[in-house]
Symmetry: C2
């Protein structure tokens, strides 16, 4: 009586309960995210979609964070890496901005995923491809290795954080309150206590998200090429193996 009536194609026209695999689970998770949003991609909801119990998923996925990282890596397959080709038009800076903008556009569609990415970095094939592409462009620009290594993190972190920041903005009608409140707080700053804020006024809020994103990339690229070489230190030793 629990679930096994023979003709139980209760969900969609899936012909029979397919065998569980890690890839199958991630595929279903991606589909679920596209149809219902990341907030619905929970172990329980996903198990339900796969006609099983949540416990079964833990055979293939360590926890929710790992699942989300796997979903993000899948999504990263949509990033347009073509600007990294040396044959693409434009100088390396322009092409780097195009590449990173594509990344942001892909992640923008699911800001909650970007938020997760700041914590649990993905490390799948598609993420490696993105890293490779950014490094190729920095190398083409003559950025030396250590600066490129650290600059890579700066660029991807900025892109990811920019996408993450858009969670909640414009989602539910009440969610805009946060930004509204910040706007109000900035515009009503007292010239006595907060002279700088008061002096800038609405200039603080100038520009669209796209303009700011592009400007940020310019700042980072010019800073990466201009800043002093990072110090030479051995590979980060997280624990001295006591």
């Amino acid at each position: 009586m629990t679930a096994h009536s023979p003709s139980a194609r209760s969900r969609r026209e899936r012909p029979a309960k397919p065998a569980l695999t890690r890839d199958g689970i991630v595929d279903t998770a991606v589909a679920l995210m596209r149809s219902e949003g990341l907030e619905r991609v929970t172990m329980r909801r996903l198990a339900q979609e796969l006609d099983t119990g949540p416990a079964s998923l833990y055979v293939y996925v360590a926890n929710t964070a790992e699942l989300h990282a796997a979903v993000l890596d899948r999504l990263l397959g949509e990033v347009d890496l073509s600007p990294a080709d040396a044959t693409a038009p434009g100088d390396w800076r322009e092409r780097l901005v195009r590449l990173l903008t594509s990344y942001v556009e892909v992640v923008f569609a699911h800001p909650a995923l970007a938020r997760a990415a700041l914590v649990a970095r993905p490390f799948g094939e598609n993420y490696l491809g993105l890293v490779e592409a950014v490094l190729a462009l920095l190398a083409e620009g003559g950025v030396p290795p250590r600066r490129a290594s650290w600059g890579l993190d700066l660029l991807l972190q900025y892109a990811t954080a920019s996408a993450a920041e858009h969670s909640g903005r414009g989602q539910s009608p009440g969610a805009e309150d946060g930004w509204d409140a910040l706007t109000r707080a900035l515009l009503s700053a007292s010239p006595a206590r907060h002279p700088q804020i008061a002096a800038l006024g609405s200039a603080l809020l100038h520009g669209t998200g796209e303009e700011r994103l592009a400007w940020g990339f310019q700042v980072l690229i010019s800073g990466i090429t201009a800043a002093p070489e990072p110090p030479t230190t051995p590979c980060t030793p997280p624990a001295p193996a006591s």
Copy 2:
């Protein structure tokens, strides 16, 4: 029989159930975060701490995100703003880095809060004070208004994202897997498919978090002073009021 035995000073030696106020709620939330971590600062757990039901909190706090933003603003009171004084030693760049480093140190203690801050910006008194201090230093450095406005966001976003990234790292023993896995993936990259990654190898992982943070500030500051002036656009119109 539910809870009201007259001598019910069951929790600590709190003499009587104090009247609820927004400030009192946030105070208790901060104390709870310090003793049990942000993940325990839930509406239900907080209500329990205040000897009431969760519904009562919604009279004073709109939702969990707003609560966390309020907690963050309280925490921001600990940031050392003294480097913003024109009388403090060091040139403006050094003092700006000191100020931002203080911010990162404060937020670092509660990375989950930093993660929340990327989404629901705080907008309390202490946040305004921090913004004012950063703007004062940029002004002292002769950074023109529009660049200062956008640069402010870049600097604070970078600092916040850097703190947020440390969630999960070194928390539980299993949580390091994410970073370990990324390390393994980078170091074992195939020279054929990922030549740039393979060429850099362990250089990608060089340096401590502190070194990278400081370098990132240098990059941003030099980029902000060097990048072209942002375009002039009217105040960001989020919705054309249809």
